[in-house]
Amino acid sequence: MGALSFLDRDHTIAKPGYSRWMVPPAALCVHLCIGQAYAYSVFNLPMTRLIGITDSAPNDWKLTELGWIFSIAIFFLGVSSAIFGRWVEEGGPRKAMFTAACCWAGGFFISAIGTSTHQLWLIYLGYGVLGGIALGIGYISPVSTLIKWFPDRPGMATGMAIMGFGGGAFIASPLSVWLMSQFKTATHVGVTETFIVLGVVYFFFMVVGSIIVRVPAPGWKPAGYVAPTESKGLITRNDVFVYDALKTPQFWLIWWVLCLNVTAGIGVLGQASAMSQEMFPGHITPVAAAGFVGLMSLFNMGGRFAWASTSDYIGRRNTYFVFMVLGFALYCTVPYTGTHGSVVGFVVCFLVIISMYGGGFSTVPAYLRDMFGTRYVGAIHGLLLTAWSMAGIFGPVLVNYIREYNVTHGVPKAQAYNTTMYIMAGLLVIGFICNFFVKAVDARFHMAANDKRGTEPVPANATAPQAARA
């Protein structure tokens, strides 16, 4: 309404001549910013010294208290993407991106007040709740738009955006450390000012993304692209209403496939540094372990693009079969690399595993599009991300508690992770079975052409505007 009407979907419909290659950078503007969440830990130690400055004072926050900030944010990512998914889909990407920008920047500003007044609940509310909502809305905001612009390469398109989420930490981590060093004084750790600067910079970046994003005109298709006229295998030409998707076994099978794939990856991602040092004492130093973690992050990011792009050629289900089979083999191999002292084997195993962890995230939007059509794919993707929240709890708990149990029962530290690796391999077997049972969605769930639900018109296989170019 009024001044904010430029955010409406109607105002974002691309005119003929708009290049679809403007959309991936628009999506990256958002995903690179919200990907900062992966680098949030750089603030943890400075925030334990807000009062003591050089060392933690008795009234300073504890690391265990600060750990909740990230957990709350990831929880609200899943909740908000599930709740606001339909609104994001029907309101359009610009409105969603702008909302995410306001929430993300607002989260930093409230957190800045929290650090300056030393009130932790404000940071839980700011970064945790508001930032988490921004993560959820921002994560799904460009997905369906990209799929509609790239019907010929949906995996590659969503892979590019979700790669940005993995890459956001690469920018945020050195930037945050540098900013804190600039604002640090003898009486101040510089976290408050860093939060404010990050809030301003991220808001600017995300608003730029919301300005340049466009949705294709109804019936648009890339030059030379011939849309299939009927469903083929798992790839449907029909749409499924967002809440009807929940009634299909396919949604829940893919939910478990994602949850299990992420559980297997997220557990080792968080413990990679400690695990590498304990499995290879004397061979991998703390400095080398930090390098290993950095290399894993690169493969996490690269895997998002590479695997999702590969899925355009080999199919989504086959891509997840590769994740499950190859992952199973690699998890079973890791204990042998430990007993044989093969650092190279260990590193290679985990780099491939972590690339498939990232690939699992980036391939799933295209998988959903194949199963449920393009109309509500963003909203359905939002509902599916609750699997991520669940995996965020399962994964680290499995790795940490099983290791602790083994160590307290006399298992040498170098072998304490072996059981976990076999359990992860077992999870992937279950994931394989779930993926195996994914079949085409029953026709009774398909939306009719005259279905009145939602506000967006059903994208019929209309003739594309001639001037639209790819």
């Binding site: 691309a14 005119k15 003929p16 001549g17 708009y18 290049s19 290659w21 403007m22 950078p25 628009a26 990256l28 503007c29 690179l32 940005g164 890459g167 930490a169 690469f170 920018i171 981590s173 050195p174 730029v208 340049i212 991998i284 400095v287 080398a288 372990a289 930090a290 390098g291 290993f292 950095g294 290399l295 992050s297 690169l298 990011m301 590193v347 001037a467």
Partner: protein
């Protein structure tokens, strides 16, 4: 130019990709440099 036709120029594409690509490449290079410590 026709108001209903908005041709995306090469400059716009370069600016848009540069806007996100330059920070991303900076971050990747920084991470790659740090990762090399694994091999030192």
């Amino acid at each position: 130019m026709d108001a209903e036709h908005q041709e995306t120029t090469t400059l716009q594409l370069v600016l848009a990709w540069g806007f996100v690509g330059i920070p991303l490449i900076f971050g990747v290079v920084q991470t790659l440099i740090n990762s090399m410590k694994l091999f030192s």
